[in-house]
């Protein structure tokens, strides 16, 4: 029997060479931590919150979480010894109730209240949430219609049984967390990882099982009203990565990637997260309390910022997974931006630049299309990341052009899609307009 060993031997040599080069290169963990930082693109707020907290474990910096909790516990007495935040209206129809460590969101609907998460313990919900519900009109005619639980940990469902028993409501929880829960939740199938719509207390939630923090963690998007405008907001269920078990962290990574896809698909613009210190919502809350709610609300981060948060979270998760499984090789996700050169297209210049935290993105296809006429052209980015082409005719001040980079993948990188739209302006007069 003759066995052709040549390809194997050759590949061994290649692998040895590659491994030798890796020995002096960054570890996979370092590569992903660095990528998380690069994806921040210099945004101080994202750096202070999303980057710092999502990367707490690969940075060996869980102290940041412990410190947040410790600071939260500096006021009050007894079981309510937390830094309580006064009930705060963050949207036309949403109020935050909680402390600086963990909180809940009360949503007013035409038929009653719906709450996201169920409080830290019975005493807290009896003292604070019940009072908040009464202030928002809780009555037999205006009941608590439902509670969506992000997951089954005590700081999220600790008051569920009290609410079910004393206020009466239907409670929804991921099926994988539902065993032995005294409040007998209605389950959301945790094994079906698809995003779907469901009615929770009459309110439409897009739910997405996101196992990782727990097996039954569920993320959601709801549409809320902000100064009369509909805005979709994300509740990242089981937000923190707090395990060093490979399958749990692998699940968490997969969940973050799917949450990114949900955020993109639903054009999510805001966040509504139980642990408000994690993504800077505590800062937003303080701002609202100090100077009032802005238009748009402080909790409307903007679609691109929410997307960027997810990309940072993805890289932090990849960094942690590759720490626990040092043999895993995960491609780096790069958050890309696309901007029109000179701020906007003109009838004689249609050009856009694609950039990311590593620099300009070269040799990538950008498609320009005129929203009003459907005319389009396609060009490749040059060494400066700039793509330009002719698309005619263009009517200044009337036509809008969308520049779109569809995204690209190599073995090492996933370059995420980017899109920008701008109105065509007159030659040389863009800034004046």
């Amino acid at each position: 029997m003759k066995i052709n060993r040549l390809p194997y031997s050759r590949s061994i040599a290649a692998a040895l060479a590659a491994a030798a080069s890796l020995a002096v290169a960054q570890t996979q963990t370092d590569i992903h931590r660095d990528a998380a930082t690069r994806n921040v693109l210099g945004d101080a707020f994202l750096m202070q919150y999303a980057r710092a907290f999502y990367c707490n474990l690969p940075d060996d910096n869980n102290q940041i979480v412990i410190a947040s909790r410790g600071w939260n516990n500096t006021t009050g007495t007894g079981s309510n010894a937390q830094y309580r935040i006064p009930m705060t209206q963050i949207f036309d129809d949403v109020w935050f109730v909680g402390n600086h460590y963990v909180g809940q969101y009360l949503i007013k609907t035409p038929d009653g209240l719906v709450q996201v998460d169920a409080g830290n313990n019975a005493n807290e919900v009896a003292t604070f949430n019940y009072a908040a519900m009464q202030a928002l009109g809780l009555s037999t005619a205006y009941p608590l219609k439902g509670i969506f639980l992000t997951h089954g940990h005590g700081d999220h469902d600790g008051g569920a049984n009290w609410l079910k028993t004393n206020v009466g409501t239907e409670i929804f929880l991921g099926s994988a967390d539902a065993n032995n829960k005294a409040y007998a939740p209605t389950t959301i199938d945790s094994t079906d990882l698809s995003m779907r719509q469901m009615s929770i207390g009459g309110k439409t939630f897009w739910v997405l099982p996101t196992p990782g923090h727990t097996n039954g963690s569920t993320s959601s998007v709801v549409e809320v009203q902000d100064h009369g405008k509909s805005v979709r907001v994300l509740t990242n269920g089981g937000q923190s990565m707090s395990s060093s078990s490979i399958p749990a962290v692998a699940n968490y990574l997969d969940s973050i990637e799917r949450t990114y896809a949900m955020v993109k698909a639903l054009h999510v613009e805001g966040v509504m997260t139980p642990h408000i210190y994690w993504d800077g919502e505590g800062e937003k809350m303080r701002e609202i309390l100090a100077t009032g709610r802005t238009n748009p609300s402080q909790h409307v981060y903007g679609h691109e910022k929410v997307v960027q948060q997810m990309v940072i979270a993805r890289e932090c998760s990849a960094a942690w997974l590759s720490r626990l499984d040092a043999t895993a090789v995960l491609p780096v996700w790069r958050y890309n931006t696309i901007e029109f050169v000179d701020g906007a297209p003109t009838p004689t210049k249609v050009a856009a630049k694609v950039m990311n935290g590593w620099g300009p993105l070269t040799s990538q296809k950008v498609r320009f299309s005129v929203d009003e006429t459907g005319a389009s052209c396609t060009a490749m980015t040059d060494a400066d990341g700039v793509a330009s082409c002719d698309v005619r005719p263009l009517r200044p001040h009337k036509d809008r052009i969308t520049a779109k980079f569809e995204g690209a993948e190599t073995a090492d990188f996933v370059d995420l899609p980017a899109e920008a739209t701008a109105r065509v302006c007159s030659n040389g007069t863009c800034k004046a307009e």
């Binding site: 029997m1 003759k2 066995i3 052709n4 060993r5 390809p7 194997y8 031997s9 590949s11 061994i12 040599a13 692998a15 040895l16 491994a19 030798a20 890796l22 020995a23 002096v24 960054q26 570890t27 370092d30 707490n56 474990l57 060996d60 869980n62 979480v65 412990i66 909790r69 460590y101 963990v102 830290n120 940990h153 005590g154 700081d155 600790g158 094994t191 079906d192 923090h213 727990t214 923190s240 707090s242 395990s243 060093s244 078990s245 490979i246 399958p247 749990a248 692998a250 720490r323 626990l324 499984d325 040092a326 043999t327 895993a328 090789v329 995960l330 491609p331 073995a411």
Partner: protein
Amino acid sequence: MNRPAKWRVALAAACALLASCASEPVAPPTATEYRPAQRSTLVTRRDLNFLVAKWQGGAESTTVLARQQDGAAPRPVARLLQVRQGPGLHVSVHRLPESWTEADRADHEIAALEHLYALVLRQEPQARYCLASGGWPCDAARDGVSHARVLQALADLREQAVVRTPAAVPWRVVEMQGAPARSWDADVVGVRATGHQGPLADIAIYFDRAPHSICAARTRADGVATCRLEDQHGDGHQHDHATAVVATFPGDVRPDRVLLPTTYVLPATAGLPPPAFAQPLSFQPGKP
């Protein structure tokens, strides 16, 4: 030969003998998509294309590892069947009959085993496992072994497969055992890591206790790594110290040898002396 080693050899031999047995066809449901198998530095032939498909049906979850060649339909080479029975999870790892030509058999078999090791590593450490070849049945609920044991069996199969390939980088199994418990503090955990030449010093071990207590330490000269589990989440709720602790060694791939990543489930009450002699983990850039 110690008992675990005997067991591994017997299991590997049985698997090899059974490799020619017939198997029922394995094909994912129509809507299921194959995705590229996760890249791993364990895999030597990165030019060979392997795919993974996963689907769920009730309490059962199936994962298929398949080889794709020249754009042809993927050919399953292994199947993982996960069955949850109450709190227990059982995973049957089936190596499927291959139809590779003699010319490429060795390379493909090695690559398949390397991919399979990487895939099984990402399964639940606390589950019970069985390993079968050629479609021969195995019952993880009845004959199940630990995650570490099934990984060792796969490593042995890979070492058998590369025996005629001297250039192959040797895989070294790392074994962990609970270190002696001499502490009343149930949060102090420790393992002793050994390789083929004895205790392994200065390797990182990660410990995890659900729901969210973790710690990490490097092994001392005697191979013992110990640290005190800390609640990473800090929700203020009491957590069950009777929950098992999982220790993970992340692996270490170097040009001349591979220390294989693996896991070990500590008995729930394992404890060690207080961390007076513990080495808290301090990672240096470039160190795994």
